[in-house]
Symmetry: C2
Subunit: 159 residues, 2 copies
């Protein structure tokens, strides 16, 4: 990976609908090498997915809730039960296992409080939980899928 690859990623992380010809021009390349770089980035798994991002408000998802919880038991069996039970709930878009005081942090998209209550009830049925706590998102100040590229390890010294 070199500087041009990062330039390509920078653009595509913001807008993947740009034609290859425009992308190539932006990184001062012709289409073929630019295309080959793209292929390589996908094969290597640097680029994982091509997706569209939807507006939660337009899909009647006006409420975002962050749920923190502790496991009732700390063993493999509990963890498996919890993960398999929670993973397929579509309203839960993110499940992070955390260090420190809290075991898991979940992000939940629902239309409203009533909708959240339904998900909450589903959640507590999955496995024994301790200290379930819900915080509601008042305002999304920033939200991006674009990762910082400044730390990527470059192969060639040519910048």
């Amino acid at each position: 990976m070199d500087k041009k690859d990062l330039e390509i990623l920078q653009i595509l992380q913001k807008d993947a609908s740009v034609p290859l010809s425009d992308l190539a021009q932006a990184v001062h390349l012709s289409t073929t090498p630019c295309w080959r770089r793209l292929q390589k980035l996908q094969e290597e798994g640097v680029i994982r997915q091509h997706v569209v991002l939807c507006d939660p408000a337009r899909l009647n998802l006006g409420l975002t809730v962050m749920v923190t919880l502790k496991a009732a038991q700390h063993n493999e069996k509990w963890m498996q039960k919890f993960i398999t039970g929670v993973k397929d709930i579509p309203e839960i878009v993110e499940i992070l296992r955390m260090s420190g005081d809290i075991d898991y942090l979940l992000k939940v998209h629902v239309p409203d409080m009533a909708g959240f209550d339904l998900v909450y009830k589903k959640l507590v049925k999955v496995a024994d939980l301790q200290d379930v706590s819900s915080s509601f998102v008042m305002e999304v100040i920033k939200s991006t899928t674009a990762l910082p590229l400044d730390y990527a390890i470059l192969k060639s010294g040519k910048n």
Copy 2:
């Protein structure tokens, strides 16, 4: 928006690189009406962006940190200072203003602890903060940009 629109979104939220002809076939339509629906979904702002998702690990972003913090002052001036200062830090990919005990929740991507410390120092310089607390992500169990579509309000009764 009707059921076919949701089917289109369902597919594109997982993979936006499918050719229009395949997409059309999947929703039992020919390319033209499928294309028109896509255009409309974009114009209406249901589809916000077309992006590629990258693998943090491959970009040397091995550490994800969730930072919670309280404002030192609760006024518009402080908020403006905080937001403008934090928004442009590329390692901070998400800033949520929360209800309850904690004022803000941030998501930070960095290579390692040393990298986080640098961002942390940047962060505390921006504005006066109270109770800054960092939790480290041990494992990403689920992470998707695909929103649940079951709550969308359908215009036509034809399913």
